[in-house]
Symmetry: C4
Subunit: 253 residues, 4 copies
Amino acid sequence: MAIRSIRATVYYHLEPRARPRGLSLANKLIALVILTAAFLAILETEDSLREPHETLFVSIQLGFGVFFLIEYVLRIWAAADDPRFQGKRLGRLHWMLTPSAIIDLVALAPLFVTFASTGLYWVRFARILRILRIVRLGRMSRAFDSIIHALYERRFELFIAFIIAFLLMLFSATLLYFAEGEAQPEAFGSIPRSMWWAIVTLTTIGYGDVYPVTFLGKACAALIAISGIGVIAMPTGILAAAFSDAMQKRDDE
Amino acid sequence: MAIRSIRATVYYHLEPRARPRGLSLANKLIALVILTAAFLAILETEDSLREPHETLFVSIQLGFGVFFLIEYVLRIWAAADDPRFQGKRLGRLHWMLTPSAIIDLVALAPLFVTFASTGLYWVRFARILRILRIVRLGRMSRAFDSIIHALYERRFELFIAFIIAFLLMLFSATLLYFAEGEAQPEAFGSIPRSMWWAIVTLTTIGYGDVYPVTFLGKACAALIAISGIGVIAMPTGILAAAFSDAMQKRDDE
Amino acid sequence: MAIRSIRATVYYHLEPRARPRGLSLANKLIALVILTAAFLAILETEDSLREPHETLFVSIQLGFGVFFLIEYVLRIWAAADDPRFQGKRLGRLHWMLTPSAIIDLVALAPLFVTFASTGLYWVRFARILRILRIVRLGRMSRAFDSIIHALYERRFELFIAFIIAFLLMLFSATLLYFAEGEAQPEAFGSIPRSMWWAIVTLTTIGYGDVYPVTFLGKACAALIAISGIGVIAMPTGILAAAFSDAMQKRDDE
Amino acid sequence: MAIRSIRATVYYHLEPRARPRGLSLANKLIALVILTAAFLAILETEDSLREPHETLFVSIQLGFGVFFLIEYVLRIWAAADDPRFQGKRLGRLHWMLTPSAIIDLVALAPLFVTFASTGLYWVRFARILRILRIVRLGRMSRAFDSIIHALYERRFELFIAFIIAFLLMLFSATLLYFAEGEAQPEAFGSIPRSMWWAIVTLTTIGYGDVYPVTFLGKACAALIAISGIGVIAMPTGILAAAFSDAMQKRDDE
């Protein structure tokens, strides 16, 4: 009886679904640890920071790995209290196969990979996996839902807007390949090469590593740049409409 | 009778209009071939890819050309089942003069041009024509319609927004011609030259190949840059309004 | 009587207000001539075009000048038929003092300035004046009205958005002056100098002539860049709302 | 009695809350002085302007300091007429602890700091404090309120949009660290280093100080750039929806 009530308490504090609203202190602590682990994994890629503190970084990694392992074991144990799997046979195994539990398991990998790794490649791979932990934060929040819903409602219009943007990029790259290809073969000597210019220009990034220098190339690029305002304006307009409608529906309810 | 029913089947599978909803397997295959042909035409412009595999590329071109030729002949044959031209005399000729059929015919040109070409220019021209094939995909989809409708409804406001943007560009180019012309005659020595700067700046691309260096030029450019936020904001705002209204009407129906 | 009816005809064809809708052939011709004159005035600033054809350009200028002079005289004469000034004493003088008539008069200046000018400065000034002619096109169109109305309705919100953008620019310039001033005194050695960077960054132009190089400078700039998304988003959002409402009202009527 | 009525007049003219609408002449004068003081504080950071006129700048600073001191003393005195604190004991002290009064007091600091300062650092700090004076202008206007309200209403959606933008930046930085890290260790050799590129790219600033040069890096960057359109489009869409709704509610009332 005592163990049962401890398990129920653990479930209540670890599982965000168990509470009608808000996060428990334990959830907040776990979120903080995930963010810290992700932040350290990012910092660790910087050689000038990692090399003088190699042992420190490895120890912290180990600490976080053990923390996530304990949390994962506790969650398996408490999964018996999950109303979705409570009556079922092999309820815990069912829980382990839910997408969020699989992400948790994958996020544990770096702990073991660190020990097993012999080559540089795996260590790098482990690092990127650890960043996946941050994804778990998404599960703790019901907040993304409304934005995801608005995006989903207009997925079709957004897709067409991206197709139009892509076709304009292709057309621009082809045009500049003919106009500028001979003057700058390195940057515009083929349509795939021009494509880099077209994307950098039509998204209005404009690094300045490639730009037309001939009169014809500049004239074409000017027309493309002006018509390219629509490349940004169209998805923005569609999203603005989506959010406006989503909010109005929420207010009407 | 047998041939008639084969023709009806061919018509049903080749013509997207024949089906109330969705694309047939044949339509999807043709779309895939068009995309692949366009993709290869793009890759072919890259000398470092084409030169070692010249024969391969020519063979693939030939294959696609024959594929599109067969498709075109089949479509002429099946056009007799098109309800638009069914009763008419010379129904197939009428079909050949529809815009979509003309695009199909033009997209066949590269096949013959490849054989007939003697100079480099025509080969290049053939390549760009082949990219036109991708336009045919548009015909297969009724999806562009809603976006095109929203753009058409506000074509007037969008036109004015582009006129305002153009006038601001002209004004900016004139201002910088006076402010910066003497310091940088190569980039700002005339209004047409300054126009390149004005377009690159007001679309917020900002390559960095030309920018003012004098104090007066920078002061003018700063004011222009700030007021230029509206150049992007205005068409975006108009499009947002257009999509919002279009969606609301669709929901009301 | 005959002269009266000729004058009424001239008034009807020259004055866009005289017709309930659309532009007369004469209006369209004048608009075309204004655009051509403006286009030539722009081209003329390019020395490599003007110098070999100096006489041609001067002759065309003269031709346009005489054309606008005749038009202006005809308009004064026909102003007697303008219902606004018909009964009044000195009606034509009243007409000459309307803003649109003053713009017409100013646009005539280049004709006389070309002859009277002795120094280079005046010729340049004349050129910029001639571009003013294009402003007259605005008078011929009732199209700007709806956009101007939407902008006017939200002039207050737009003003605040620009104030916020300006304060953010000032704050960013101050921050980078402290963070980066010592490393790059030329570009960030004072707040006015940093201001150029702040404007180029927050409008997302990003020429690349100045950018932070120290770690602290980059960290500050990164935060500023992210918060600067709002600088573009805010006026766009306000304009989108303005156009959406303006269109809805138009549809409701 | 006479002093009381003078105090009431001073309160009426100094305190914007005392008037139902608009600003008194005294308020406008103070606003102008604040703006001028801020403008001079900005100019003073430019050595080429300050050094030849050191005495002039110090004198003007002193003048403004005394002006703000007198204003502050007058406001303390007149605070007795503030209806919020009129009946209370230590009403003036209560007034001094209101946020706006604290900002006023802090804005006085530069006056004393200028005299007391012995090192360069404090003078710089004093300058930045003086720019805080401009914040006081915000207090004089009820105009920010409507925009602040719209932002507050959607603070949640905006926060999520920024989280999504940040995660996309992190993902982009990680991707480019793997794709480009070996070719350009200086710019992409760690995730924090790549982060600078990711932020400059996804906000579409694109200075051009760092950009991918390998094929894999360019391919990744192209995909990131296209998906990054959403980074700008999402907050813009949310804000557009917020302003549209806020205006509609205002019109309905």
